[in-house]
Point group: C2
Chain length 386, copies 2
């Protein structure tokens, strides 16, 4: 099993621990935890990863028979499930927080890390844990920034997770196009997209996004669906960002109800051209600000009077089981980021005319050795719903 | 505006601060933040509440024009929005974390709390914040346990939020009953429930739950939907727990496809009787373990051979925008909790026969001065889908 992506990622963290002279780490951020273990953390109960130079232990809530079967690596990955009141023990009193803390101390002790300085994610590691471990401030060294930087570059496994989620969005777009007609509401179309995606996934998932339309709403960039009845000539901006198996994709198509007016077709062609230029430019070493200049420049140069693009040109995507969903590289005019092989980013040119209507086009790209690989397959055209 | 529920809650926290000799607090937990402000925190960007004896400031991500309009109280509730890369500033470089930290320091300074000891939620307040504020450990005093205890008792506003969400579940149950037939999948019925609820809500929301069936699955207590094709005679357990406007309700109905067999009707009658006895017993001062004994005792006394109930009898519900969704009182045999006026709890008797099928009945109740108020209106019967 050497070479499981999770083990490889833990090994990279070990190299960093070695570099800063630490024997172990305690990871608490759900995003980092998932990244390093492949085990989706429960939203309501804390999960921890304890690591030393050789081994790793996950401290996780006991929520079913499978909880302890989380051993995807070969570094003796182990799990310590703690009792809680979701899966109640009927034979004794359970103090959930006390059980959790006990399991964590046991994990730290099992790996010989008791009292030793630890690498922690200082942006998430909470105050009471320092007291629990009886570790003074100077024994808690931040490795969260290292992990954030590591996570900006996606390995092959992560690229495939994101590609899968983008393809799921494409299924949603197809269902949206099949559903949208005059008198259909944004919520109905959103529900149809969700169901088509859930059928493909064989399971439920959280879907969020802008997914509404009409002159006012699309002219402002879109908004979450709320029951608006779509009418002939409306544009609906469907910018959806589901979290599937821990990864958040983020793609957008624009739909017109009925045959598009000339101005609508022309507006979308500008986005397609800007997208194509950005796609052609993506390569390792390209400053994100330069990519923004290429895409935004093309949009601005072709925009008709009254039409503008007021938002970022894109951003990195990745793990989204905790806080944070927008990652480097940030594709904005004053970005200090630089594209690197393995980054996965969105490009999202848009044009909006206040009170009249607007549209956006967005897809996700993997930065490859000498260019990029687009992940979306749904046509990058104005989707006509007749 | 004196008497806004948020202000009243902040005043209670101030009394506690006074009691422990603190001049201010910094709240970071999204659940506490929402509870004290009424402002739904974004999932991906941190929100903070800074309070002194007279005023409160919310430090929140700038995500739209409305961000600063969060003033539901009269204690000079104020907002400091921080720039971030979701709403990119196109005219300058934005370091999101630096902007956030700066806004937080400004809020602390504005309330005259710089360098002063603070009440914090030690189970969430993260390590890097202590360094940012330059506050040594002994200047950070936990008020998280106080807030958790305060939140266990729901005021009238919260009771109404929960009641609304329970009624939304009832709409979902009606749609489920209308949709379920042989050859319909669990995902289709779940999607229909979601859409009916979204139409009522006029918006999207996250819906999770057990929502599947058949002899194996319902016999084990249910599971999340995955595409199972329902068949004549199947039982589907629909245990749904949406988070709507920050509050999580948690109710269950069981559905039978076609006319119920005699054993199915009999099994459900046991649950109805157990539920009725629990409902009749709920009152302030009742030990949760005693409530468990009443409900579970009735289930066990009537259970046919091979049928068992292996889970808790219920738990408190409430705010669920961060970690944690099951709250006191925990209705389990060895619970140390006691019911109090204003608690909102679930009762959820169930009976399961391995390999044959099972069912569960669950609703939410407000503990009133001398009894309880049931929140659900969908019939507490086995729902027949013909």
């Amino acid at each position: 099993m050497a070479g499981s992506p999770f083990q490889t990622r833990r090994e990279k963290l070990r190299v960093e621990l070695d570099r800063v002279g630490l024997q172990g780490a305690l990871v608490t951020d759900p995003n980092h935890f998932f990244y390093l273990t492949g085990f989706l953390p429960n939203r309501h109960f804390a999960s921890f990863l304890v690591m030393n130079r050789e081994r790793a232990v996950a401290v996780v809530p006991q929520l079913g028979a499978d909880t302890t079967k989380v051993a995807p690596g070969s570094d003796l990955f182990d799990a310590l499930p703690y009792a809680n009141l979701a899966m109640a023990d009927l034979n004794r009193h359970v103090d959930e927080f006390a059980e959790r803390d006990r399991a964590l101390l046991e994990g730290v002790s099992r790996l010989g890390l008791k009292g030793k300085p630890l690498g922690v994610d200082a942006h998430h590691f909470w105050r009471a844990l320092g007291a629990l471990l009886n570790l003074a401030g100077e024994k808690l060294i931040d490795v969260g920034q290292f992990l954030l930087a590591q996570r900006a570059i996606k390995d092959a496994w992560e690229q495939e997770q994101l590609a899968y989620t983008v393809r799921l969005n494409d299924v949603g777009f197809a269902a949206t196009q099949a559903t949208l007609h005059p008198d259909v509401t944004d919520l109905q179309a959103f529900g149809a997209a969700w169901l088509a995606m859930a059928n493909k996934l064989c399971g439920i998932f959280d879907l969020h996004g802008e997914f509404s339309g009409g002159p006012e709403i699309s002219g402002q960039g879109g908004r979450a669906p709320f029951g608006r009845v779509m009418q002939e000539g409306d544009i609906l901006i469907a910018d959806i960002y589901p979290v599937v198996n821990g990864y958040q994709a983020d793609t957008t198509r624009s739909f017109v109800i009925g045959q598009p007016a000339a101005w609508q077709s022309e507006l979308h062609l500008i986005l397609e051209e800007a997208m194509a230029r950005g796609e052609a430019a993506i390569r390792p070493g390209l400053p994100a600000a330069e990519l923004d200049r290429i895409v935004r420049g093309q949009v601005n140069a072709s925009a008709p009077r009254g039409a503008s693009m007021f938002h970022h040109c894109g951003h990195g995507v990745g793990v989204a089981v905790g806080k944070g969903a927008h990652y480097p590289p940030f594709i904005v005019p004053h970005s200090k980021d630089t594209l690197a092989e393995g980054m996965v980013l969105t490009l999202e040119p848009g044009l909006y005319i206040a009170g009249k209507g607007g549209m956006r086009l967005e897809d996700n790209y993997v930065v490859t050795k000498d260019g990029c690989r687009p992940l979306g397959t749904f046509p990058k055209k104005l989707a006509v719903c007749v």
